[in-house]
């Protein structure tokens, strides 16, 4: 673990150099530890693939105070009880009007559309981070055969519920938005509801299995 500063009011804790299940698990554990610690002056905690970013209020605490506390907390982090990740099944309509980039993904990978669907639904993915927009899950790791580059020119509008691929990740758009992922299908599942807690269906560490609808 490596602590560094991010501007005046951020602390970046790095857990590894690449996208790995083990790194992600340590980050998740650390995130729950931070939440449970209820340290004064913490504004936000943003866990992601290989780091955890702490945004703090410099009027209430300081980077020195936080870093010195965190450096002494290894034992507490190891001991803390954390919830089991939730597994979600997400039905998807693949291809045709539901997946405008299915043809591209199929020809880029040299697989038939059937095979793309088969491979995409065969794995249980882990949510490595939630962000870009509220409730958007960055999930991996995709089977290497489905590796897809991002669109060269992002779309102005990607519909809500679109299921996409980007490099070795897969994700779902909770809202209509601009976007550059290759869209292979659409789900009717709502990923984000601002009226009701928990606002986001998916959280860091959760598992997702896509089902063909």
């Amino acid at each position: 673990m490596n602590y560094s500063r991010y501007g005046e009011d951020g602390i970046r804790i790095i857990f590894g150099e690449s996208i790995e299940a083990k790194v992600s698990e340590s980050i998740r554990r650390y995130y729950f530890f931070l939440k449970a610690s209820n340290l004064p002056g913490i504004i936000d905690i943003i866990p992601s693939f290989r780091s955890c970013l702490i945004h703090f209020d410099s009027r209430q605490t300081s980077s020195e105070r936080l870093i010195s506390y965190l450096k002494k907390s290894k034992e507490k982090v190891d001991k803390i009880e954390i919830p089991e990740p939730v597994t979600h099944e997400i039905p998807v309509q693949y291809g045709s009007e539901y997946g405008p980039d299915m043809e591209f993904v199929s020809s880029y990978s040299g697989l038939s559309q059937e095979e793309v669907i088969e491979i995409h639904t065969s794995k249980v993915y882990t949510v490595f981070a939630v962000g870009f927009m509220p409730g958007f899950p960055f999930m991996g790791t995709l089977d290497k055969r489905l590796y897809s580059p991002r669109l060269e020119t992002p779309r102005v509008k990607v519909p809500k519920g679109s299921v996409g691929l980007a490099q070795l990740q897969t994700g779902i758009y909770p809202f209509e938005s601009p976007g550059g992922w290759q869209i292979i299908g659409t789900t009717k599942v709502h990923l984000f509801n601002y009226r009701q807690e928990p606002y986001s269906l998916l959280k860091i560490g959760d598992r997702v299995k896509f089902l063909r609808e």
Partner: protein
């Protein structure tokens, strides 16, 4: 009650921001000019999280269904109450049936309009700020349009307050922004980093493609070193981060994203964050690198200077 007659170019409801949910990607969507926003509530005797309108452009006008005290902070504007000119950064009384009009913006970009009392709106996920991308918060998750009516829960007017003239910042270009180095500074050639921080006029211009998510700059691209991966594994970012996408043209992240995947050349020092609200297309921007320690001491000094705004100053 107030009614929007003309929303200007774009106006929406904001507050100090929606914090605490960065782990599920909810961004702050806060007022961009925090000093102007906090000053507005201070001037009006409102408690500090009271929502305000953040407005861009000429022509903004509203009419009043009740007598209210009102103020405008942020960009310097040419505004009238019926046909009488009014002063920015100063509370004024406005009577039922009168019309407040902002003819044009004289200096700066965003201005803040507020009332003595709170607009009656729904608080969504702990905040009144509008998340325009996802259409929640503020006024039904959307910008204000002609005909929108908002009730005001008035508070008892108190003694008039003022903001010392020396504290009201200048907002005209060129905009000097002080930058703390970022995690991926070494992704770029030393020559192009040096060029980025040369304080020559017209090095960068604000692009018309800028929006509430980010300020895009046009000018000399920042060059990546040979062999460096141009994107990073996406990770948490903070407002004011200067990201460099593949084309080398900097983007200054504002308050609508929690995760980014571009290399970070630096972060705008917090002491200059409010200035970001006033970068308008075509303005020139000059960067200067400072150390984290310098940035911290500048920020601490500013916080001390402005502390009167952040104490609970509710009237009545």
């Amino acid at each position: 009650m107030i009614e929007i007659l003309n929303p200007g170019w774009l106006s929406m409801v904001v507050d100090g921001g929606r914090y605490g949910y960065g782990d599920i990607g909810i961004p702050p969507s806060s007022a961009l000019d925090h000093f102007a926003y906090a000053s507005l509530n201070y001037l009006l005797g409102n408690s500090k999280g009271t929502p305000a309108m953040e407005v861009m452009g000429n022509g903004f006008s509203i009419t009043f269904g009740t007598d209210l005290r009102c103020a405008i902070t942020g960009a310097k504007v040419n505004a009238h109450r019926d046909d009488k000119p009014i002063q920015g950064w100063t509370p004024f009384e406005i009577n039922r049936g009168a019309i407040l009009r902002v003819k044009n913006v004289v200096e700066g970009f965003r201005y803040y309009v507020g009332f003595s009392g709170a607009m009656v709106l729904e608080r969504v996920i702990n905040s009144f700020s509008t998340n325009l991308d996802c259409r929640f918060g503020g006024y039904g998750g959307r910008p204000l349009i002609k005909g929108d009516r908002i009730d005001i829960k008035t508070v008892k007017a108190m003694d008039k307050r003022f903001i010392p003239a020396g504290l009201i910042p200048t907002m005209s270009p060129p905009h000097g922004l002080r930058i703390i180095e970022g995690a991926e500074k070494d992704f770029f050639t030393p020559e192009s980093v040096k060029r980025f921080f040369e304080k020559k006029d017209h090095v960068y211009k604000v692009s018309s493609k800028s929006n509430k998510t980010g300020i895009r700059l046009e000018g000399e691209p920042v060059d990546f070193r040979k062999g460096v991966d141009k994107s990073i594994i996406s990770e948490g970012i903070l407002p004011g981060t200067v990201q460099i996408p593949g084309d080398g043209l900097p983007i200054i992240t504002l308050y609508e994203r929690t995760i980014g995947g571009y290399a970070r050349l630096g972060t705008v020092a917090k002491v200059d964050h409010d200035r970001l609200a006033h970068l308008k297309p075509g303005d020139s921007v000059l960067f200067e690198m400072i150390t984290l320690e310098e940035a911290e001491s500048l920020w601490n000094r500013k916080m001390e200077r402005d502390s009167f705004l952040y104490e609970n100053h509710q009237g009545g």
